[in-house]
């Protein structure tokens, strides 16, 4: 049997057998499948709201998603390229007498698998897409297909950029210029349209309907292809999807034919990805560790004494990693995103817009809370060895995140509340609700670790965490909804108040119950690997 076919088929078979041997992984898979099926069934029975949004806004969302992929691909291409191989491929395949072009094909097959998983989250959006845009499950699959194609193209594009620009600064600058120039017409057209229309939403709509955005590389092709197929314009949809496939095929052909000795070009990306994984399993979860950005060290020194030194260390790390300190670009994007969304939510009535915004942000926060430095400390040995009480260490190690969230939510809800015309007390309650929810999530994270004693796979730990969030929130949510709906206009204030109070109480309870976590559970290892 051909060695590459053997490698692919045996890897698939072994992955399946591993599922049977690891019940936790199997449960995770069943959970994911159940969620996808559940969302599908839910979308069948979801009553579409009377006012569904115009499908052009779905094109806008798809455009932004694909644009994000383009930015990432260019960035990766200019640094190390995208990793389409594993280190085991480098060590075993690259030195074997197998045709390099066949090996490249094998890499592309592996890459397609990654692209599918990267877009998997779209399947969970079927309910909101059905509710918001009247898109059925078929539409969701088309959205996934568009994302899959754009993601695949971007992976080969980043590889091409790396091949062409590696060690050539002039070419790197040229790629940057081309990347900006490709989207300059869209930016210019948006500016001109806005100047003419003088209103943001109509201007954006006009841009999305124009050929300028439709023909914008990748982002325009993918979004137009998706929307055309959803509305039944099959020919136009296939044309744009075909354009993506053709571009990807041409790039692959160029790499394979012009540069059969491409091993060196993919080596850096593969080694970088491998090193990242290895460092993570050894406890290095800080993204700054693998960043190639040059850091200028000006101010030095750390304040505090005992457990508080952890907080001051976090401040030093954050302000050194980022000029905005605790509030980096993600914070800016979150505030901007919330502001744009508020524009769409202006017709939702008193408090309704803020309520929808809160729901979305709270869902996002469930997953983003783990990006704080406090939780990452648990993967390194220092916090365990500092001779201070476990509780003090946990509190001080999360203070930086608490400060970040408090300021971020104050800015975010003030801006969004201002756009939505919400009252000051309601904005203040929203800030309290969101900040206390984040506080509760931290508590639940520690409680999950404490309760499971970190002796579980990462996947199962996430499921337990999600279930814990739902179960712990319910006793607050039910009275908030019941009492809130009974009180008319004042209901939303009382509902927010009840939920905030519950979050505070539950968070304190979670932290109290997870006391001594640094003594009573194993130092966790990233990716669910176990220590030996």
């Amino acid at each position: 049997m051909n060695s590459l076919v053997f490698l692919v088929s045996r890897s698939l078979k072994n992955s399946f057998l591993e599922l049977l041997r690891k019940p936790a992984k199997l449960i995770l898979w069943l959970f994911v499948i159940a969620m996808v099926v559940g969302f599908f069934i839910l979308s069948l029975y979801t009553r579409q709201s009377a006012e569904i949004h115009n499908i052009i806004w779905l094109k806008g969302i798809a455009f932004l998603m694909a644009l994000f992929l383009v930015i990432i691909a260019v960035q990766k291409g200019l640094s190390s390229g995208d990793a389409i191989f594993d280190m085991s491929d480098v060590n075993l395949l690259f030195v074997s007498p197998v045709n390099p072009r066949l090996i490249l094909l094998y890499g592309i097959v592996r890459m397609a698998k990654m692209a599918f998983w990267a877009g998997f989250f779209i399947l969970f959006q079927s309910n909101s897409l059905s509710n918001g845009f009247g898109v059925g499950y078929g539409g969701v699959l088309l959205l996934l297909l568009g994302f899959f194609l754009a993601f695949s193209l971007m992976q080969v594009l980043s590889l091409l950029i790396y091949v062409l620009t590696n060690g050539r600064p002039k070419r790197k600058n040229a790629v940057k210029l081309i990347a900006v120039a490709a989207f300059l017409p869209v930016i210019a057209y948006t500016g001109v349209t806005f100047a003419a229309v003088r209103s943001l939403l109509p201007a954006l709509e006009a841009v999305l309907r124009s050929p300028v955005s439709t023909w914008a590389p990748v982002a325009g092709w993918a979004s137009e292809g998706i929307v055309s197929l959803i509305i039944g314009n099959t020919g136009r949809g296939l044309l744009f999807f075909g354009l993506i496939i053709l571009a990807a095929a041409l790039i692959m052909l160029y790499i394979a034919l012009s540069n059969p000795d491409y091993y060196e070009d993919v080596l850096v990306a593969t080694e970088t990805a491998f090193e990242k994984k290895r460092s993570a399993s050894e406890g290095q979860l800080n993204p700054e560790a693998s960043s190639k950005r040059k850091i200028h060290v000006s101010k030095t020194g750390i304040g505090g004494a005992g457990a508080s030194a952890i907080f001051y260390k976090h401040l030093r790390e954050s302000f050194r990693a980022n000029r905005l300190g605790l509030w980096g670009l993600p914070s800016v994007f979150t505030v901007l995103g919330a502001a744009v969304m508020s524009l769409f939510l202006r017709g939702e009535g008193d408090g309704g817009g803020l309520l929808i915004l809160l729901q979305i942000l709270m869902w996002m926060q469930i997953f983003f809370i783990g990006t704080g430095r406090g939780l990452k400390e648990l993967y390194m040995h220092y916090i365990y060895l500092i001779p201070e009480s476990s509780f003090r260490k946990i509190v001080w190690s999360n203070l930086e995140l608490a400060l970040k969230i408090l300021v971020e939510s104050a800015v975010l809800f003030s801006v969004a509340g201002g756009i939505l015309g919400a009252s000051v007390p309601l904005i203040l309650l929203s800030i309290a609700l969101f900040t206390l929810f984040s506080f509760l999530l931290l508590g639940i994270n520690y409680l999950s670790l404490r309760w499971t004693q970190a002796d579980l796979s990462a996947g199962l730990l996430i499921i337990i965490y999600l279930i814990a969030v739902i179960v712990i929130m319910l006793p607050g949510l039910i009275p908030a909804i019941v009492v809130g709906s009974m009180l008319g206009d004042a209901g939303i204030y009382v509902g927010f108040g009840i939920l905030s109070a519950w979050e505070l109480l539950a968070a304190l309870g979670c932290f109290a119950l997870s006391r001594g976590i640094l003594h009573r559970c194993d130092m966790p290892v990233y990716k669910g690997g176990r220590q030996r």
Binding site: G304, I386, E388, M523
Partner: protein, 239 residues
Amino acid sequence: MIDVRNMTKKYGKLTANDNLSLAVGGGELAVLLGPNGAGKSTLIKSVCGLLRFEGSITIGGYENHSTEAKRLLGYIPEFPVLYPMLTVYEHLEFIARAYRLEAWEDRAEDLLRRFELDDKKTKLGKELSKGMQQKVSVCCALLPCPRAVVFDEPLVGLDPHGIRELKILMSKLREEGCALLVSTHIIESMEDNWDVTYIMMKGKIVRVCRREELHEGQSLEDVYFDITEGHAPEEYPHE
């Protein structure tokens, strides 16, 4: 100083450490030897309070999770993990502040000089090579003047100068009455200094060997291969 009694560590059904007992006194260097997967790192991490276990581990008479025990203990992990956004000197400053050390600066300077890091004080953790990171890791562990130091494969990644300095430092610590527990695969690196060796296989201590028990001309390596390749582990009663 380091006292492990009837310690068992299980990962699900797998018993990584099976009813282990060992003791390392002040001024004593104990070496942990064993093939890959013998359970050495699990034992080391349990001693340092990074893992849960059954049984008892004390440092200087204090339960190993207590604040008092942590004040006495230094740990050099197998894989050095530094904070990428802190400079070399800030790592030491962080440890000094977290441990509430006083007049630590001279000792920090001395450690940095020993490991040729004195000209790299303003380098960030992410800018250092693996070997350099290991040296910073050693400096961090030794800054609080611990009375018991646990080393997990300390020489891996170090350059010849670093290896020499660490060996000198280990001898000095031993002379000063510090208890040292060292897990290593590089047996000859410990030949000069060791006092007692625990040879582990399949989660058990299969042989305890004190230096004075060696025959004329017999090396630690001979003992190790005699145990791990010459006999089946079942022939030895575990500790």
